[in-house]
């Protein structure tokens, strides 16, 4: 796990430039730094040493010196791949997974990515073919950004490295901002930085003298709804699931340093911790976040699970005010505005792990996408159920069952519940049916956009763009699979794995590993019939069945509690910090010209005086504050550059 940067093109002073670019992402690799340059290309690397501690330095060249790689991540099946390559007569000089990629590329060219099971982003400079190959893992765990400037192609693990290139500067992309304030994340390859893009998950890119070509090497697909399922027997499906998940965890324990685990107290991280504990004879270390507010805190479950597994458990408290304290740093690492504060406690958590000396943690991330755990899947099912009997006063009561943790919903009449969720009114064949209430609720935050920004975006619709990105087969999938695709293909890489995942962990040089996102498991789960995943309104049914012997009953039967953190209240609960006042001041808002200053002032006052703000107000507050911090951090001021500049 590391960070890298590089370029393709002839530039003067490539080495000092790479030195500055890699220094900008030094947090990703505090152990070593390396630079490679040739007349046509350059690579820089910062290393977090996990596999091949003594001989895995990068950039790494092959024996011929013609192939050179800079690699961020892990190839979990590198042991098996290396054995196969050795059987073909290949000789290895190091014990690292990095060298395995080099040999595979030498054998197969860019097709080598299809054999890799891992979380990775890498660049290979191929001097023979005078081309740079870039690739990113299937689910989007590891990041890779790029930009072209003055005839040279630049790339890096984080945008802040690209901003070291003379001539590349930060400017907000209004369409990305609209996407964040609608979908929670930009639609890749777009980023919040105008003219800076990201390589999409499961894509590879070739850059040579002819230009840039990009293509997917893997695609998430679900079976046609009309065809009989490949799995009819639940017991055998559960056994296969267990075998796959166990192996996915086993190969993710591979490291030359100790591996720990995040333990939220929910089903998914408990399963992963239980499997990992069984593979750690010396005892597993587990880590979690606790909250002051009972609404967010899960510490009782965390302690119960840690005791059941006998792990050495550490927790960090995210107290009122902590989120506000770390939030500017959080935005410096997310490199994008966010509408929830949930990444902030994870930033604190990775700091705790770092203090203990560990570098690697397993987490339960991905299970909700892969096995249909999120409330949004159940909500869509209830909305369809209500849609069959519009006007029913009984059916909408189910919405209350879905969201027991949302106080605003508890007291609503069935008529209001139906109205809020659009039950019975929206076309059932809408490709975004499952997500419409979320999109509608989030889009309401655009009320705060400035007149100029609204005018600039007047013909743009983020939901329409999302629809345009769906594969042709999408319409033939079961509604649950459509909803799973939307979560897995867009929100997972665009927010969960990035703003909440890689960026928060790597801020403190911690590598997260995600057994549920092993592509073998993802492909297996996609083929399961929907009712094995969401059985009635019980989420992740097959996963519970497959792992019930691993967990105490109280954990195994827990209803999904989404990971959330206090939002606007975090910034006013224990005295407002100066930066919040400054970022939301009328002058700063007017200077940024992205939001309506008077409306923001009223929102600010409302959130200060009434801590129990609703979703729209909370999301707007966090979104506006994070956008203002983004402007300050990356443009050096809160003033947006004009179109003409």
């Amino acid at each position: 796990m590391c960070g890298f940067s590089g370029y393709f093109g002839s530039i003067r002073d490539g080495r000092p430039l790479l030195g500055r670019m890699t220094a900008a992402i030094a947090h990703r690799g505090p152990d070593e730094q390396g630079i490679f340059t040739s007349p046509e290309a350059g690579l820089g690397h910062v290393r977090l040493s996990i596999v091949g501690l003594g001989d895995g330095q990068q950039p790494m060249s092959d024996a011929s010196g013609e192939l050179t790689i800079a690699f961020n991540g892990e190839i979990f099946n590198y042991v098996e791949l290396r054995d196969e390559l050795r059987a073909k007569g290949r000789r290895f000089r190091t014990s690292s997974d990095t060298e395995v990629i080099l040999h595979l590329y030498d054998e197969m060219g860019e097709e080598c990515v299809s054999l890799l099971n891992g979380d990775f982003a890498f660049a290979i400079w191929d001097a023979r073919r005078r081309r740079m190959m870039l690739a990113r893992d299937r689910m989007g765990v590891r990041p890779l950004f790029y930009a072209a400037h003055a005839g040279t192609f630049y790339f890096a693990s984080e945008v802040k490295a690209l901003l070291e290139v003379p001539g590349i500067s930060a400017e907000i992309d209004p369409i990305a901002l609209d996407q964040i304030f609608t979908l929670w994340a930009p639609i890749a390859p777009r980023t919040p930085f105008r003219n800076i893009l990201e390589l999409e998950p499961a894509h590879l890119m070739i850059v040579d003298q002819r230009g840039v070509t990009t293509r997917p090497y893997w695609q998430l697909r679900y079976p046609d709804w009309d065809l009989p399922s490949a799995y009819v027997d639940e017991r055998s499906a559960a056994e296969e699931l267990r075998a796959l998940l166990t192996d996915a965890t086993r190969i993710r324990m591979r490291a030359d340093v100790p591996v720990g685990a995040y333990l939220s107290g929910g089903l998914d991280s408990s399963i992963v911790s239980a499997l990992a504990a069984g593979m750690t004879p010396q005892g597993l270390r587990t880590f979690s976040v606790t909250f002051d507010s009972a609404e967010h805190d899960e510490s009782a479950f965390q302690l119960e699970m840690a005791a059941a597994l006998g792990t050495r458990h550490s927790a960090i408290a995210s107290r009122t005010g902590d989120i506000a304290r770390v939030f500017p740093d959080v935005i410096r690492f997310t490199e994008r505005p966010i509408i929830r504060t949930a990444p902030a406690p994870l930033y604190q958590l990775s700091g705790l792990v770092r203090e203990t000396g560990l570098k690697v943690v397993l987490t339960g991330e991905g299970a909700d996408e892969v096995f249909a755990g999120y409330d949004i899947f159940k909500e869509a099912r209830v909305r369809r159920f209500c849609g069959r009997q519009p006007g029913s006063r009984i059916r909408p009561h189910l919405f209350r069952k879905l969201y027991p943790y949302l106080p605003g919903l508890k007291q609503q009449s069935p008529e209001y519940l139906a109205a809020f969720f659009g039950a019975g009114e929206e076309p059932l064949d809408d490709p975004l049916f499952s997500h419409r209430p979320r999109l509608k609720g989030t889009s309401a935050t655009k009320l705060f956009f400035s007149g100029d920004l609204r005018a600039e975006l007047k013909d743009y619709d983020a939901a329409d763009e999302l629809i345009s990105r769906l594969p042709p087969e999408f319409g033939g999938w079961h509604p649950l699979h459509q909803a799973q695709y939307l979560e897995s293909r867009f929100l997972l890489p665009g927010y969960i794995l990035s703003s909440q995942g890689d960026r928060m962990a790597m801020a403190h040089g911690i590598e997260g590993r995600f057994p549920f996102l092993d592509h073998r498991l993802v492909e297996f789960a996609a083929k399961l019939p929907p009712e094995m995943k969401l059985k009635g309104l019980t989420e992740k049914h097959i996963l519970r069945e497959a792992t019930k012997d691993l967990l105490p009953a109280v954990i195994g039967k827990r209803v999904k509690q989404p990971y959330r953190a206090p939002d606007s209240h975090s910034f006013s609960g224990s005295g407002e910090l100066d930066y919040v006042r400054d970022a939301l001041s009328e002058e700063a808002i007017a200077a940024g010209n992205l939001f309506n200053a008077k409306a923001v002032a009223k929102l600010h006052e409302k959130c200060r005086s009434r801590p129990a703000a609703g979703f729209r107000d909370n999301a707007a507050f966090v979104g506006i504050l994070s956008t203002q911090l983004w402007l300050q951090t990356f443009t050096g001021s809160s003033i947006r550059k004009s179109e003409a500049a």
Partner: protein, 87 residues
């Protein structure tokens, strides 16, 4: 009476849910939910406003879109509740 009630409710909606955005053309019969003006927490804020400002105790059965989902409906509801109907 109706006009005065309507103006007072409109001022509350503009201030509290539209954050002073007077450029928004809030039609008398426009749905507050469909136009993304109000969410589930907002409904409770609206109920508190009606109870505080007009001295009306709202029963659970009163808190339905038929009474509260537009400026016209809210005004009519308040007027009906505030003025006892004589047989």
């Amino acid at each position: 009476m109706t006009q005065a009630i309507k103006e007072k409710v409109k001022a509350f909606i503009v201030e509290n849910f539209l954050f002073g955005d007077t450029s928004y053309e809030l039609g008398d019969t426009a749905s507050l939910i469909e136009n993304d003006i109000i969410d589930s927490t907002g409904v409770l804020e609206l109920v508190a406003f009606i109870e505080d400002q007009f001295g009306i105790a709202m029963a659970d059965a009163d808190i339905v879109p038929a009474n509260l989902d537009s400026l016209a409906r809210i005004s009519a509801f308040i007027e009906a509740k505030a003025v006892p109907v004589t047989a």
